[in-house]
Chain length 321, copies 2
């Protein structure tokens, strides 16, 4: 069993190559660019960790991890185009640096390259891995579409928001773990526990992300505090506040969202606190974390071998306990 | 052996279903929309025709044809976004009807669906079909990128233009035929002859398309005559004219391209004729057509069985002889 940082370094060692031919440079340099600006490589490490629970790492684990990391970066390029985001990981986004059309195509070709890596997996596991990959890829697209739909909707229920978040960000983590398990020869039960462990950690992570956007410490969070509030984003906090506020609070919230006064962030935060959205989010995150742990618990693998997955969860959820 | 229209009807019968789930409708309806506005289904028919040369049609031919048609439509959606095209097959483009972000995602999810169909192909043929599909998909992206690059370039050589056209539009036809051959159990030699037959027909088709844009009969062409001239598109005709014009003609052409006078189309056409670009294009198209026929000739299949492929070529190249 290896630690997160050992596995991350191991993956990086093989992944840190040019994945595309030299010609056509104007297409492949942009695709290579985003791979070079880092990222935590959480998903490839998740493939490795799950695989290591059942067997030792081999070329198939690398090919699958590679495919998932390329897919993830493909979806980031396309999401950034849709969101008109100028920065990604502190660097220019692909469309900002190379133009939208090239970014669109670079994303497409990266997606093909993901399938190229997948297709190298040995025939014994290939059909299962590809079926899971396809299902997940579609779900990620569905999640992104729902996210855009929600921007135009007046109200979004907690249930709808959890579905969107699961699809957009959590299923890929679950799927990475399940892929590793498949390649390790694990049975369906173990695969599903690992999938659900990852999916619930992913949702807990998003609750935390929404929380930190409102209540985080600016220096630690790395993004502008209140960004979601300024853009009226329907986050866990806003949804809960809208669902629990009294008539007066609702009216104030609605006025703030429509008028954008200079003290908007401060006043919305006040309403969040009045409705105890902060406490509620903390316990919601804990609930998903506990569900994740239950799946890890139920996994028929020696307890001591689960330590690294628990570390991964704690790393992602920045838990101090 | 079936005719083009029989195979087209046969394909349409199975293809004319909803390829996507109901939920998320806002994502899948746009993807389904473009499939519903028709198209000639040339590529699926090409898969079928090549397959029929060696064996009878089965579910694998349908799955491969389906994957290729979905890939083709995915690339049309993304190309239309890049080209800001309002119409496709006389109907609103996907991004025009549903917005750019949704069109981008609908394209992505259609691409996943293409791989879903591919993955159903029996293991005996799957690796070869997927490898060819991936290679072709990357080439189509490269072709589109080169096309965009050429818009910004001062001059483009004939060789560069042929490479771009081959990648952007012709390799997919070649690949469709080769896929059918693979699924029919054909040997590598036959596969390659069919691939090259399709690729050369594709290039000849593009020469014809460029020719008709300048010299076509408006009612028959279905598009505005001179569209390429008005947008200074580097076509076969323009490239040849720039390469063969004398100093005076070059100067006039360059002035027309920069100044866009009302009689631009008429005067550029005059220069094309002076440089015999029309005759040259006609013989270039013939050259690619003959090369295609040589590959068909060399194919180790009974002559009488090649008739439908020859009909396909003649249909695409609107040959009256």
């Amino acid at each position: 069993m290896h630690s997160f940082s050992e596995l991350s370094a191991l993956f990086e060692e093989s992944f840190n190559v040019r994945h595309f031919p030299e010609h056509t440079k104007t297409l492949y340099d942009p695709a290579q660019y985003i791979l070079g600006i880092g990222g935590k490589r959480v998903r490839p490490v998740a493939v490795y960790m799950a695989n290591e629970l059942f067997s030792s790492l081999d070329e198939d684990s690398f090919n699958a991890a590679c495919a998932i990391e390329l897919f993830h970066n493909f979806s980031l390029i396309h999401d950034d185009i849709m969101d008109k985001a100028p920065l990604r990981r502190g660097q220019q986004t692909v469309h900002e640096k190379y133009g939208e059309s090239t970014a669109l195509l670079a994303g497409d070709v990266m997606f093909v390259q993901a399938y190229e890596y997948l297709s190298k997996i040995k025939p014994l596991y290939l059909p299962k891995v590809v079926a899971l990959f396809n299902k997940t890829a579609k779900e990620v697209c569905e999640g992104q579409q729902l996210d855009m739909d929600f921007e135009k909707k007046e109200t979004v229920s907690l249930e709808e928001y959890v579905e969107m978040i699961s699809l957009k960000t959590s299923v890929l983590l679950g799927s990475s773990l399940q892929t590793g398990a498949i390649l390790g020869g694990a049975g369906l039960g173990s695969q599903q526990h690992l999938y659900n462990f990852g999916k619930n950690i992913g949702i807990a992570f998003q609750v935390q992300d929404d929380y930190l956007d409102a209540f985080g410490i600016p220096e630690k969070f790395g993004k502008q505090i209140g960004g979601d509030i300024l853009s009226n984003k329907k986050t866990f906090l806003l949804i809960h506040t809208l669902e629990t506020a009294n008539a007066l609070q609702k009216k104030e919230l609605s006025q703030l969202m429509n008028s954008n006064p200079p003290d908007k962030v401060e006043r919305v935060l006040q309403l969040f606190k009045e409705c105890k959205a902060d406490e509620w989010a903390t316990s919601l995150k804990e609930k998903y974390y506990q569900t994740a742990l239950e799946h890890l618990e139920a996994l028929a693998v020696q307890e001591s071998r689960k330590a690294e997955l628990k570390n991964l969860a704690e790393y992602l959820l920045k838990r101090e306990s």
